[in-house]
Amino acid sequence: MKEITVLSGKGGTGKTTVTASFAALISNRVLVDADVDAANLYMITPHTVNSEHPFEGGSLPKIDIQACTHCGDCITRCRFNALEKGPRLNRIACEGCGVCAHFCPEGAITMEPRVCGTWFNSSTENGPLVHARLGIAEENSGLLVSLLRREARKQVEATGADYILVDGPPGIGCPVIASTTGCDAVVVVTEPTVSGFHDLERVAELAAFLKVPVMLTINRWDIHPMMAERIRAFAKEKGMHHVGDIPVDEGVTAAMVKGQPLVTCSDGPAATAIRGVWQQVVNFLDDKHGPFKMAL
């Protein structure tokens, strides 16, 4: 079993479109939507939700107003201005540090588990889909991501899947680290723009930091062929494995509007390119003497 995480650095590079298509090309896989802040994968992956579960992460103070003497101690101690006169909790500002509860002279505050979102077990034509929705302004997306990956491993045991495919979050922060740590390889989907290039450098730094082998594909490469060439050169220098590029194709938005992965409803240039990219990903992972082993 191999676990592959698809990342992009910058958002909007077509990462989810590519992931959904990869997922449609593998006959037995577990698919994970780890982009929990803006989950889109389910919208282009026909699925049925089998079960949904609350997601708890961190804690939140609960104030027993009956026991409170309004001394104001908690308000002064909170470094995050999460307590207002009353005392009233500003849930958004609260970090769940527990300082208010610890020092309340009346013991009027207790720390309770914080419900931050919902996660789902769903099924698709070629294997399970694990996805989630994080509540507004909720933190702990990293924890939610690791929970989803844990569920995905359980699904692998149940289904004997060959791959876990993770649609990672954008950026290089905590949820990205959570979706990448300990996976077998990363596929980075970037675009040939100055910001795409810049963010790729950041992702490369992160992958080196996490010691994960990286593959690279450039989406809409023909928007700026020179930049695409620069990105390829950069990738080579950083030891990333280039797995082919994807051209601009109007069919991409059309597939999105239909709610389907691109490769299942198109034989256009982008769909053809993605099939080729996936084949190269498989070759790279299978190559025992190739760069994959060397990167380890």
């Binding site: 929970l147 844990r150 959570a178 996490l210």
Partner: protein, 120 residues
């Protein structure tokens, strides 16, 4: 000698757990008699952060001299080695088999953390 192993269930014949901080549970094993007991890790499974650190603390408190696991992050590594506990990786199969491999000298002690971050 008392050693610990991460396991996916509270059973010596359950598959070992490759995670450390978020392991399903720890089994504390007497290597002479092969008798074992369970140390729960449930609160760490869902900890927002710091699971490795808390698990490290738990293991130190059991008084074990070694821990057999799959992946150990740098924070837990610091705590375990700070307390003189050996971190042993590379085992395969059930928790029982892992301990047997250890006794047979088939496993290596790791000299550095092998995963980054606090999520596994």
């Amino acid at each position: 000698m008392k050693i610990a192993v991460t396991a996916t269930a509270a059973d010596f014949d359950a598959p070992m757990d490759l995670r450390f901080g978020r392991a399903a549970c720890f089994l504390v094993v007497d290597t002479e008699t092969m008798s074992w007991s369970v140390v729960e890790n449930t609160q760490n499974l869902n900890a927002a952060q710091g699971a490795g650190i808390q698990a490290g603390k738990t293991i130190v408190e059991t008084g074990c001299t070694a821990i057999i696991t799959g992946n150990c992050g740098p924070k837990a590594f610091r705590i375990l080695t700070g307390a003189g506990i050996k971190i042993v990786t590379g085992a395969k199969g059930s928790a029982r088999q892992a301990v047997e491999q250890y006794k047979a000298g088939e496993l290596q002690e790791s000299s550095e953390a092998n995963v980054e971050g606090h999520w596994i």
